[in-house]
């Protein structure tokens, strides 16, 4: 957990212990980080790459693992014209070291200490910090009811699909709703369109009373989802949002 009092944030080395390919473009990277101080669900880490001539590139990635997990996991989408993500997903091998610092963030954080309902809306790899929350939730004894609305391009692009099925089938308090925006596979029972008012009304709790809301995804997705919730009467300040750009990579 975060220690109290001012403290300089420093870089440390993690060693890549395992790679799990989640989708054709997305992999989870599991690190052993001996100096890692622990984290809260929803926080992220800064990653820094250094070339042999001293050139550096730095990006921020959401943490996918639960605070209770043994290893620190990042789930990274490879952006073809990016600079850092093609290195993390493609070049980095088990045993390689990576410079990390964190955990970072205190706004987009779910502690799981309350039994208030938890509403999560994710677009693409925006599901990553939400997954950390659901994994954390699976460890806590008194579970808040939770719903996840998860928008992906195609069935093959659904990150953590099997694990989400497993989590929700084992736990009546968790409901997972998928929507696919670019494919209508045969036999698919989820939604097949961009999120809209009708979908949000079917998925979310009708009132905002005491609901913790987290929305994460590309900027346009986040703003669309937040607008729909606000139109339903949710207080804009109660809807916690995290945007990522298409250009960062």
């Amino acid at each position: 957990m975060i220690s109290r009092g001012p403290r300089l944030i420093t870089w440390q080395l993690g060693v890549l212990a395992e790679i799990v390919q989640e989708t054709p473009r997305v992999s989870s990277l599991y690190f052993d980080a001996p100096d890692w101080p622990g984290h809260l669900a929803g926080q992220h880490v800064d990653v820094r790459l250094t070339a042999d001539d001293g050139y550096q590139a730095e990006r921020s990635y959401s943490i996918a693992s639960a605070p209770e997990d043994r290893r620190l996991a990042l789930t990274v989408e490879r952006l073809d014209d990016g600079e850092v993500s093609p290195y993390l997903v493609g070049e980095l091998r088990v045993g390689d070291k990576l410079e990390l610092r964190g955990p970072i963030g205190g706004y987009f954080v779910w502690r799981g200490e309350e039994e208030r309902p938890l509403l999560l809306i994710g677009g693409g790899s925006g599901v990553v910090p939400l997954m950390s929350m659901l994994r954390h939730r699976s460890h806590v004894a008194r579970k808040a009811p939770a719903r996840l609305l998860f928008s992906s391009r195609t069935l093959a692009d659904v990150i953590y699909h099997a694990e989400l099925e497993h989590l929700s089938s084992a736990d009546g308090g968790l409901r997972v709703f998928h929507t696919l925006t670019r494919e209508k596979p045969a036999g698919w029972t989820g939604y097949t369109r961009r999120i809209d008012e009708a979908m949000v009304k079917e998925v979310v709790w009708p009132t905002q009373d005491m609901v913790d809301v987290f929305v994460c995804g590309p900027t346009s997705f986040v703003e669309a989802a937040a607008s729909l919730l606000v139109a339903m009467g949710y207080d804009p300040r109660a809807v916690k949002t995290e945007r990522f750009g298409a250009t960062g990579g």
Binding site: A51, E83, E99
Partner: protein, 208 residues
């Protein structure tokens, strides 16, 4: 690119970065690399510009401020220029072609004792440039890039172009030039970036 507190000598195995030849040359200033795409830099939302209400002004230390409507501005003599541009974030783009009005054309008949200017934009952006650096065939107010109307994300409908200085001086969505007797630091010049910004002398920050 970041540079604080490196772990001693750590190198990320196999990382080269998405580069680029850094070798400077007669065309490429020190520390720059050449790109073929056109990166978009943005310090805020892209303004929606209504051309019916758009004007371009020369104001400040001038007896009779000058102002053109969009129609008047587009009727001014235009020229097409091909220039290399150099962004302080270290990319350079060679042989970019622009169409617009020379600042010399806009300044015709202007009598002023001012030595400095603030170029100002929609959305509150400003940048300071000595008057001598925007006159004498050195700067343009442009509305076409590569033969096409300038895209809003690149500063359309109209941006400034002063290619011999770092590209933050070439203000997007430009609306006018304020003539001044003293130099007033602009949006970036007031917070660390160099008052002049000569790429050939690597004048990126204060003190460079």
């Amino acid at each position: 690119m970041r540079d604080t507190h490196p772990l001693m000598g750590f190198v990320s195995r196999g990382f080269r970065g998405k580069r680029r030849d850094t070798a400077s040359s007669a065309r490429v200033p020190p520390g720059q690399y050449v790109v073929t795409d056109f990166p978009v830099l943005s310090a805020g939302p892209t303004p929606r510009v209504n051309l019916d209400q758009w004007t371009f002004s020369i104001e400040g230390e001038i007896d009779e401020p000058k102002r053109w409507t969009w129609k008047e501005f587009r009727a001014l003599a235009a020229e097409t220029v091909t220039k290399d541009i150099h962004c302080v974030t270290k990319w350079s783009k060679l042989d970019t072609t622009w169409k617009g009005v020379s600042v010399d054309t806009l300044m015709e008949g202007v009598e002023t004792a001012a030595e400095f200017t603030t170029v100002f934009s929609d959305a509150g952006y400003t940048t300071n440039i000595p008057l001598d650096d925007i006159t004498g065939n050195k700067a343009w107010v442009v509305y076409e890039f590569d033969g096409q109307p300038l895209h809003p994300e690149h500063g359309g409908p109209v941006r400034f172009l002063v290619p011999h200085l770092y590209f933050w001086k070439s203000a997007k969505w430009v609306r006018g030039i304020r003539l001044q007797n003293e130099e007033h630091p602009g949006f970036w010049e007031s917070n660390g970036y160099n008052m002049y910004g000569d790429p050939w002398r690597e004048q990126r920050y204060w003190g460079d």
